[in-house]
């Protein structure tokens, strides 16, 4: 027998496609070629495979070797095909039984010494194996906890090429994967009880978390904007199992936290402001999920929002609107989920000291500074809160709240929304369209009077009007009130974005 094939899987977006690694041996000058739309890392696997075979005391056939990765129209990226090609080569040279390769899907990267290394996207690849009806899967031991999240698939968690061969020859039982478990479940999240003062920003965080609203923190440098934003995940409800699997899948495809098993907490992504548009929403010659997708079901924190490049901010619009990022590269379209809460921070003016006598910015400077942010992005941000320096009394005192008590209130508010929106196809108040606002955000007479007068007195723009309604709905949900009353409207108006922008534009 001089032809053998092994089944493996290739990443395609956050899903995977079945790929067959075929190896053919024939008489001729010794050579080793890999064909089938393979990138540089795949072609380099020739060197790794040869060294790994020899260093694991297997024979490397001195013949003309051709490896093909089919289908040939799918671009194969990365070193994860090493192990499948090596196994097919061993079968073609009759060092392992050919029939064994029908029972196992195989992937992993080889080291020169014959160790098997983990590669990204293990969960998506395992799901592909399950979907294609493969009975078993041989995965690198370091990534096996992820593969074990998929039910109905025999997993062999291997660490060396010799171990793989022993499994294929049925000399040993397939080594089981380590216990899946929650990675990092014991790690303590940053908690609101570390925060002194900042009552208003904390309240804004709670409202944002309860209604899924995007949030803008404005304040001078060093007042605690970043500290506050980092604590948002601690008040969000814990990930459901489905959400956790989605987060794990994307993070694994993105090459984060390889081998850590199921994600235990909502991600917080805080990219630096020099990030490019494709870094933010995904892209690259072989598409990779961007920060918006890595923040899926979590928080995307953009510190110093006005420092981000305009194209990067513009690119955020679609994910904010649709909850997913669509990346088109070389006639292929990859769709990455991207449902996240946006928290951004900004200085109040170019020098950062607005409102104090140190500020030397002119009205024009401030208007220009704000214009950089304005437009569609700010339209998607329901809450603006000013972060000011806490007073000495506050610094010396107790924290206003703890994350666990805030989380309990938020969970109740979320529950009310789940019931309300059961048939509307949305999850939280922040997603209410004007039509849904008319249905679900009705005000009592006093609330209506306050909102109308705020609008007429130029405290609000027309768009701001809708944002206030959404936030007022969440304030009412937090209070357990089915109706939106004056108090909730007033609270929503406290966090309105237009407070200073409308005045500046006047």
């Amino acid at each position: 027998m001089s032809l053998a094939r092994a089944v493996t899987f290739a990443l395609d977006g956050i899903a995977s496609r079945r790929v067959v690694a075929e190896v053919d041996l024939r008489v001729g000058l010794p050579a080793f070629n890999i064909v089938g739309c393979a990138d540089a890392a795949v072609r380099e696997s020739r060197e790794r495979i040869q060294a790994a075979l020899l260093n694991s005391a297997f024979a490397f056939p001195g013949r003309r070797i051709t490896a093909n990765l089919a289908p040939a129209d799918l671009r194969k990226v990365g070193p994860g095909f090493d192990l499948a090609i090596a196994c097919a080569l061993l079968a073609a040279s009759e060092q392992v039984p050919v029939a064994a390769l029908e029972r196992w899907a195989i992937f992993g990267e080889l080291s020169l010494g014959g160790e098997v290394r983990p590669c990204r996207g293990t969960l998506a690849l395992a799901e592909g194996a399950r979907r294609e009806g493969m009975p078993g899967l041989i995965v690198p031991r370091a990534a096996a906890r992820e593969a074990a999240l998929v039910d109905g698939l025999a997993i062999a968690a291997v660490s060396t090429l010799r171990e793989v061969v022993a499994v294929l020859r049925e000399e040993v039982a397939p080594p089981p994967p380590p216990d899946p478990g929650h990675a990092g479940a014991t790690e303590r999240l940053e908690d609101l009880d570390d925060v002194r003062g900042h009552a208003e920003p904390i309240r804004a965080l709670v409202i944002a978390a309860a209604g899924g609203h995007n949030l803008l923190l404005a304040g001078p440098p060093g007042t605690g904007k970043t500290m506050l934003a980092r604590r948002l995940p601690s008040v969000l409800p814990p990930l459901t199992h489905t959400e956790a699997v989605e987060v794990t899948r994307i993070h694994s495809v993105g090459g984060l936290r390889v081998g850590e098993g199921l994600a235990a907490r909502r991600p917080l992504r805080a990219p630096h402001h020099t990030i490019s548009a494709s870094g933010l929403v995904g892209g690259g010659s072989s598409p990779m999920p961007g920060e918006v997708s890595l923040a899926h079901h979590g928080v995307l924190f953009l510190d110093e929002l006005s420092e981000f490049a305009r194209p990067a901010l513009e690119a955020l619009r679609q994910p904010l609107e649709d909850g997913r990022a669509v990346v088109v590269r070389r006639q292929r379209t990859a769709i990455y989920p991207a449902r996240f809460m946006l928290v951004a921070s900004t200085n109040p003016c170019p020098c950062g000291h607005a409102g104090s006598s140190r500020c030397r910015c002119t009205e024009g400077d401030m208007l220009r500074y704000r214009r950089r942010l304005s437009g569609p992005l700010l339209d998607r941000i329901d809450l603006l809160v000013h972060v000011t320096r806490p007073s000495a009394a506050e610094l010396a005192g107790e924290a206003y709240t703890t994350s666990s008590s805030a989380r309990a209130t938020i969970a109740q508010a979320r529950e009310r929304q789940t019931i309300r929106f059961a048939e509307e196809g949305i999850a939280a108040n922040a997603q209410m369209s004007p039509r849904l606002l008319r249905r679900h955000a009705r005000l009592d007479a006093a609330g209506q009077r306050i909102l109308s007068s705020a609008y007429e007195r130029n405290h609000l723009s027309a768009r701001g009007h809708h944002r206030v309604l959404r936030v007022a709905r969440t304030a009412a949900d937090l209070a357990g009130s089915p109706r939106i009353c004056a108090e909730h409207v007033i609270e929503a108006l406290t966090f309105r974005q237009d407070a200073t922008t409308v005045q500046l534009a006047a």
Binding site: C349, G355, G364, S391, L493, A506
Partner: protein, 410 residues
């Protein structure tokens, strides 16, 4: 269109037309003689002085001048035209030898024609200052505009970026009268970014940058839904014909109108060699009082105002100072300006007084300066009260989010 809206005698309309025709030449002539001298010349003298080689052509064009057509143009732009021979023309402008021939008015002309009365009966204050104003300057200008207008005194300014616009915005907030003197046509919002302010002053919407095509009656109900019930309390004024695009000289020229309309000229922030100082100089030349708001001696935006103070200008700290200088001491109380907390529930009144004492965030207010930090719920209650006061117009938030008391807002 009736005569009350549009008037202006043929001679004054022709004079306005002549100046518009010679606008480019006046720009050249400014290098040789002072602008007030040029603008004070009679028609023939002006032609001889600035027209140069174009004198024959200009003379021909002015001979073909069609006064009824000019009136129709004003009507179409929704402007009232008040000429210096009209009884409604503010006499105080005639203190200057170069007083404008015609004032074109957008908005409610009564705001302007009220100034026909002598200064004591119809007081007006010119509030001017830097376009590149600091937050402090904008804040002070807005407070002055509001306080002065709340006392019923007309706020005159140029609607420019920075101090001018802030003063007029403050006047509108108080619902008081304000006059914007523009360098270009009175039907064109200038600067364009202040279009919203212009619309609020004249009480109607402007479509894009074009003047509205129909229903030009200046007192017509405004088109904006939110402005339906609002009374028009302002007007925009220009000596130039409708649609005129300003030249460089147009700005010092309009400054002379601002200076002449105000009984007192207050400069809020001005760098050295600022246009606002020209206004102050013109005001002094007309025998009007000049006042200035002090600034930090290290701030370039305060160099001009501090220099004015050093030269003997009156010092202005708040609207009360302005009214004292304009109307005599004690006028502020007589004008019915209220104490900060008047007319409020005790709950809100207490919060307002605390803000007035310098506690500027909800956390500080709830905790007070010496006690332990208050509970979150207490802070939330205070926050609600602060927003209520803000919506009532008693408090404002500075760009850093801190609360400040709006003076004269009762």
């Amino acid at each position: 269109m009736n005569d009350a809206t549009t008037a202006g005698c043929d001679a004054c309309l022709r004079r306005t037309h002549l100046i518009a025709l010679l606008a480019g030449r006046i720009e050249h002539e400014r290098h040789r003689r002072r602008l007030p001298e040029i603008l004070a010349l009679p028609d023939e003298g002006l032609l001889g002085a600035v027209a140069g080689r174009e004198v024959a052509a200009v003379r021909q064009r002015i001979a073909r001048f069609d006064a009824p057509a000019a009136r129709r143009a004003c009507d179409a732009a929704g402007l009232a035209a008040i000429c210096r021979h009209d009884v409604r023309y503010p006499a105080r402008l005639l203190d200057a030898p170069d007083a404008p021939a015609i004032l074109h008015v957008a908005g409610d002309p009564r705001v302007l024609t009220a100034l026909v009365e002598p200064m004591e009966a119809a007081p007006a204050v010119a509030i001017v200052g830097a376009r590149r104003a600091t937050g402090y300057g904008v804040e002070v200008a807005r407070a002055l505009g509001r306080g002065v207008a709340a006392a019923g005194v007309t706020v005159v300014s140029g609607m420019a970026f920075g101090v001018d616009a802030a003063a007029q915005d403050g006047a509108l907030e108080a619902g008081g009268p304000t006059v914007a003197v523009l360098a270009g046509g009175a039907d064109v919002p200038y600067p364009a970014s202040k279009r919203r302010l212009y619309e609020r002053i004249v009480g109607r919407r402007v479509a894009g940058q074009r003047p509205p095509a129909k229903d030009p009656s200046p007192t017509a109900a405004p088109a904006g839904a939110s402005a339906g019930a609002r009374q028009v309390t302002g007007c925009a004024v220009s000596e130039m014909p409708p649609g005129f695009e300003p030249f460089r000289w147009s700005f010092p020229a309009r400054n002379r109108i601002i200076a002449a309309l105000g009984g007192l000229t207050v400069v809020v922030e001005a760098a050295e060699r600022s246009g606002s100082l020209i206004t102050a100089e013109l005001a002094a030349g007309l025998g009007r009082a000049v006042a200035a708001v002090p600034g930090q001696v290290t701030a370039p935006q305060a160099a001009g105002t501090n220099a004015l103070l050093a030269d003997g200008a009156a010092l202005v700290r708040d609207a009360r100072d302005v009214l004292d200088h304009l109307l005599g001491p004690g006028a502020f109380e007589a004008a019915g300006a209220a104490v900060p907390g008047a007319g409020l529930e005790p709950r809100l009144c207490a919060v307002l007084e605390a803000v007035a004492s310098g506690l500027d965030t909800a956390g500080r207010l709830a905790g007070g300066p010496s006690r332990d930090a208050a509970s979150a719920e207490e802070v939330r209650r205070v926050g609600l009260a602060l927003t209520e006061l803000e919506l009532l117009g008693r408090l404002r938030r500075d760009p850093g989010g801190r609360y400040i008391v709006v003076p004269g807002a009762a």
